[in-house]
Symmetry: C2
Subunit: 352 residues, 2 copies
Amino acid sequence: MDKNMTAAVLTSFGGPEALQVRDDVSIPNLQKGQVLVQVTAASVNNTDIWTREGAYGQPGQPNAKAGWRGQVDFPRVQGADIVGRICAVGDGVDQRRLGERVLVDPAIYDYSGDNAHPVGLLGSELDGGFAQYVAVEDVRAHNVTTSPLNDEQLACLPTAYGTAMGMLERAEIVKGDTIVVTGASGGVGFALVQLASIRGARVIGMTTSAKGDLVAEAGADVIVNRKESNLLTEMSIAAPSGLDAVADVVGGESFEWLLPLLKEGERWVIAGAVGGPVVTFDLRRLYLHNKQLIGSSMHTPLHFRKLIDEANAGRVLPRVAETFTLNDIHKAQQVFQGRRHVGKIVILPSEV
Amino acid sequence: MDKNMTAAVLTSFGGPEALQVRDDVSIPNLQKGQVLVQVTAASVNNTDIWTREGAYGQPGQPNAKAGWRGQVDFPRVQGADIVGRICAVGDGVDQRRLGERVLVDPAIYDYSGDNAHPVGLLGSELDGGFAQYVAVEDVRAHNVTTSPLNDEQLACLPTAYGTAMGMLERAEIVKGDTIVVTGASGGVGFALVQLASIRGARVIGMTTSAKGDLVAEAGADVIVNRKESNLLTEMSIAAPSGLDAVADVVGGESFEWLLPLLKEGERWVIAGAVGGPVVTFDLRRLYLHNKQLIGSSMHTPLHFRKLIDEANAGRVLPRVAETFTLNDIHKAQQVFQGRRHVGKIVILPSEV
């Protein structure tokens, strides 16, 4: 095996130029308990771009350059969503895992337990999967040999579907709930539509008219065009007796007009804020009606195992919008940020 | 019995002049299932003043004049917290209740069930207790004959302790939790300190230095002076491993500096915003750490029954700061708004 590999390395916070595709990156040495994964597919997420830009802000300084946990150690191989084959195992790992197709849990947890919190992420706090190879802890590499999904489809799951699963679990979305999904055509939004629909919720997807058909196909019962001039009226027609939940990845001004449509005591779960993270918020609109704003970041170990079960049973069908080679990662991120696609953009670092 | 009574009647949204003490108000006619309560004590709350001012705003119009549920029908007898004696019973009510000492549940619920939501309030959506008499539904008048507390003390309970109980229950505060109570000397804050301490939580009370001793006496383990120049440092010393919960009635800027001190996945429960209801809020500080913002308005029927149990067992000890006659209600509200007191201001409409 070569000693070097190709990888997309983040060298500092900055524009696309801060992310450099290099072919002289050392293949990681395996530590005890680790496996080396040859990466066949790795999908693109907002978090890659926000980490590159340092766009997470800090307490009291919304415009400070920071990764989602604060500092980032450069150089850092980016990429959270990793599918591949185990091509080497470290000490203490079962040799029979060699050759196994695996989906990697990208979350670094604060303790080992079903309900642990994610406090780090592959591609941000540890090197990730925009590379031909990545070394990860044995337990992090889940066996997906029996899944009917192909590698590209599986690579769509960890961040987008993991985040969506976390939101639905934390907000306890159940059959019969009427739920609005904002940004329903994006990675997390599309996953939310699919997973909420599988649970038997009545899903109202907010998206543009051009993407409405695909979102409906994913399971949305009603599509509301987010560019509609009178969104409040449209939404009131779509949910005449109010909303049981909002699953939000947009934030921004939707917060002000949509919150009053939640029924008494109901749930707004939020996992992102592409429409603007800093909002002006009238606390009375929340507390006078016993509403809850549930922050949701990624997933717990339990949520991730549920996702692996869905993948192995073939109950989820991620949509791959377009694939790119690792050398074309900048083009891939451009397409991603153009937001004309529905589903996920996937990088294919190596073939097996 | 006379046909008329003295009552404090709100005639419109406005200043103190909008609340008029009149002695020609008709004693309410009893409907089926109601009891007539001769009011011996009724405490003063922020909600009386905010309702008088119309200070609740509306969705998208934070400065619109409105009661907490929107419109208020004038004239309206104010006063949510009612203690008194049953002096007449309507059709269908057990005659043996005559003479019973009762504490009235001021919440109007959206359905009958243990976990119903409060969607109305005596003194706002129905006539309240700043009057010599009030007619209320039989089930609303809880028997407190056996409580060791006197009428003035019992009158402190419904809104302040009911709201505090609702907050602690909704945020699931348990033994060992480290919890900050903002505004710890106010009505709800003082009740929070007492009830959280009874549960075995470690309570950090934020108040001014002049009020610190009384708040500590109520059960706070640590007092943090809210006028301290470096509050963040003070709080970090008080809770070196972070906070399990914040029980907030202040809102305003505390929201920005205090939220980061909550541990991953923990709870901010809010029931008021005396420090400013409209805040600038960076949604990332919530969602990246799986934190929850739990709106809490008053109590459920189950929470109120728990409170009645505490009162009858004498496990709570409300602090009466000062009492006033009904004719002096404007003076009472002035003292209340001066915020130099600790505990509750109580009106004594009639003697029995």
